[in-house]
Symmetry: C3
Subunit: 208 residues, 3 copies
């Protein structure tokens, strides 16, 4: 039993590190595309990966935010930014499809982790779902603001919507008696699936 718990923790940690790295690499590529210098690339990598969690933690009063309480997270994102900077032509050669899948995985993980942390801090369900969504998309929003672009997430695609839906499933699953782990897994899978289906079938939210 204890061994299985250890295994679960290792999986969660691995998923967290992968999600953070993917978001950091995406941020760095976007910063390189925007002609920022090495420092700019590393900062955008950091913000794209950890900004959502920082907003969530500051809103719920969990200061200092986890992203700066544990030095390994900023260090990981700076490293990811640096490597992307050095080997940017290799990174740019990663197939779009693969990046989309990895990004959807990161989004799912962050949304689930966000709703779970908010609940742990006593936030009520509806707002907890919002905070899960913010955890998933907040880094990208700050990244876009810093690069003076209207945040992509406000304009197109089922992205924040997938995160919100996944967070909803987490809470629904718990309400129906699922364990915390199972509810999280189910919500993550739903977010992941909705996101990829929306890309595959070109789903969009309506415009007025």
């Amino acid at each position: 039993m204890a061994r299985m718990k250890l295994k679960t923790e290792a999986v969660v940690l691995a998923a967290d590190l992968i999600g953070t790295s993917v978001f950091a690499v995406e941020g760095a590529l976007s910063a390189i595309h925007g002609n920022l210098d090495l420092l700019g690339v590393m900062v955008i990598a950091f913000i794209a990966a950890l900004g959502g969690g920082v907003i969530r933690d500051m809103l719920i009063g969990a200061t200092p935010p986890n992203a700066i309480r544990d030095w390994r997270y900023p260090a990981l994102t700076f490293l990811a930014g640096l490597l992307t900077f050095i080997f940017h032509s290799s990174f740019q050669a990663i197939p779009t499809q693969l990046m989309l899948v990895l990004d959807a995985a990161g989004l799912s993980l962050f949304a689930v982790a966000g709703v779970e942390k908010a609940t742990m801090f006593g936030i009520r369900p509806f707002v907890a779902m919002l905070l899960g969504t913010v955890t998933g998309v907040g880094g990208g929003v700050i990244r876009d603001i810093l690069m003076t672009r209207v945040p992509a997430v406000l304009q197109t695609d089922i992205y924040a919507t997938a995160a919100f839906f996944g967070a909803f499933i987490v809470l629904l699953g718990r309400r129906f008696g699922l364990s915390e782990g199972s509810a999280g897994l189910l919500g993550g899978l739903v977010c992941f699936t909705v996101r990829l289906l929306s890309v595959a079938y070109g789903w969009h939210l309506p415009k007025a």
Copy 2:
């Protein structure tokens, strides 16, 4: 006496809901104008209405901010955003004059509520006035940043200035022995009047 207090509370609550809704509708219209999708419209409605209070609460350390502690506020703004999205041609037909008056009412209410909350948290008068102003204009500033526009409030009009002046009158009234309620009412009226006079007479702050 108790009945009168109840009546006052009902008036304050009604004013708060109206102010929040007006700011949310204005935000949503601005987002529709900027070609955002349904989610973008709802997010901007939320931020335009509640962003100022969130900044104030985070600055004074009142976390989680009231806007997310009480689920009815985000729910109200999302609903306002959704309705504005669906019936946007009706909303766009609201006479500019009426929107200006409602907006001035919302600004006055938020400025007064902001200076009162800051004072309650032990913030000194000068800074409390600033926080009242931030409560009134902060949502519009974040809305403009997200839509990559220089915040309107920094460029033209007596808007933040009216909020600051109203907040000043609240504290002045208290200093001269007015009750909290009377000082708030007086400050709100002053903000409202200054704002509408400035529009009517085309007052502007100087530029260099």
Copy 3:
């Protein structure tokens, strides 16, 4: 001994006021250049001077941030903004070289103060250096965002890098047994020197 301590405190206070004023004047000039009105100029002066410290304080949970806890700081920056607005042609006549030197001094001071405050709040070294850097450059970043420009600090120059390096020296000095005051002085001098050398010799970070 007590007399010497008093003298040190007076020097630190004077440096702090000078640094804050320089950043406020620079912010105000930038806002005038961007055609903002009087209020906009005063707000940008406030944010450029105190925004970095506000971000730092909110991240480490030191609310309300020092910049609004002590009314003299906002008052000083508003006054600096007002004076810059009125006498803007005189301020614009200040030689670029002098502004560069004063700005480098402000940056050094803020970076050192930032890393020291972060350490005092129990933040670990690597993140404390980041927070020192944020204290130095954060105000300029918010200023640029409000004026819808990609933050200068992400694009060019050895600026944030100098701040980070100075913060690093502060912690290194302490590790090697220097007193807090000496380590701070050394770190500040290093930041100041690196910054000015980078301008003199046109050093830049690489782009991809």
